[in-house]
Amino acid sequence: MFDIRLLDVPFDPHAAADRLAAATPDAGGITSFVGKVRAGGDVKALELSHYEPLTLPGMRDLAETARLRFNLMGLVILHRTGRLEPGDPIVCVSAASRHRRDGIAAADFCMDHLKSAAWFWKRELRGGTWHWIEPRAVDHADLARWSEKNSPV
């Protein structure tokens, strides 16, 4: 089961992981990461825009790369677009693998690429004004880990 989607309405990331687990009975583990809008801060809303001809095809390429690199039995990548409220899930990556390290590494790998190498633009509503968010230096450093010769996996 490989389920790669953009969603413009709120979704339940746990249901997605449950569906993956049900679809991959031979897997030894399901690794899931859920990114969400922080609640309790001064961010009142978040908006994610994308570019239709590139964003979903890029996510599918990422999934195929992860499938081959980590020998995955299944993978779910769900990513929101549009306006999100504090507490809303933004992204869910769930990987089904025979052994745990492949799944954990695959979720890490997919998130690093979604943060700074996928076609999304994010802005936050703070103090009544929208502010565009750029990837942080650490996001680029996280991404670079996967192409280094001494990459952990």
């Binding site: 570019y51 590139l54 992204v91 943060k115 700074s116 996928a118 999304f120 994010k122 802005r123």
Partner: protein
């Protein structure tokens, strides 16, 4: 038919619109002329990518958009 230029992310705010149509064909010099000066300045930044007909150009200065093509101006991304 024409070439449609799409302004993504913060470039949408700089341009004051999310898309516009210009006459085909469109090359790099034509693109820089077609957009507002602050957008053209951003385009010269190596971190800003250009896609044509659904493909990101490895050399954006080699842009050659034909009738009906979409040209997307892609500033640094931030997902997840």
């Amino acid at each position: 038919m024409a070439v449609t230029i799409h302004f993504l992310g913060p470039l949408r705010d700089l341009a004051g619109m999310d898309r516009c149509d210009v006459e085909a064909p469109l090359d790099w010099a034509g693109l820089l002329d077609a957009v507002a000066a602050p957008v053209a300045e951003q385009l010269r930044n190596e971190r800003v990518n250009v896609a044509c007909a659904g493909r990101v150009l490895s050399d954006k200065t080699a842009l050659h958009a034909q009738d009906g093509d979409e040209v997307a101006l892609l500033p640094p991304v931030s997902g997840g």
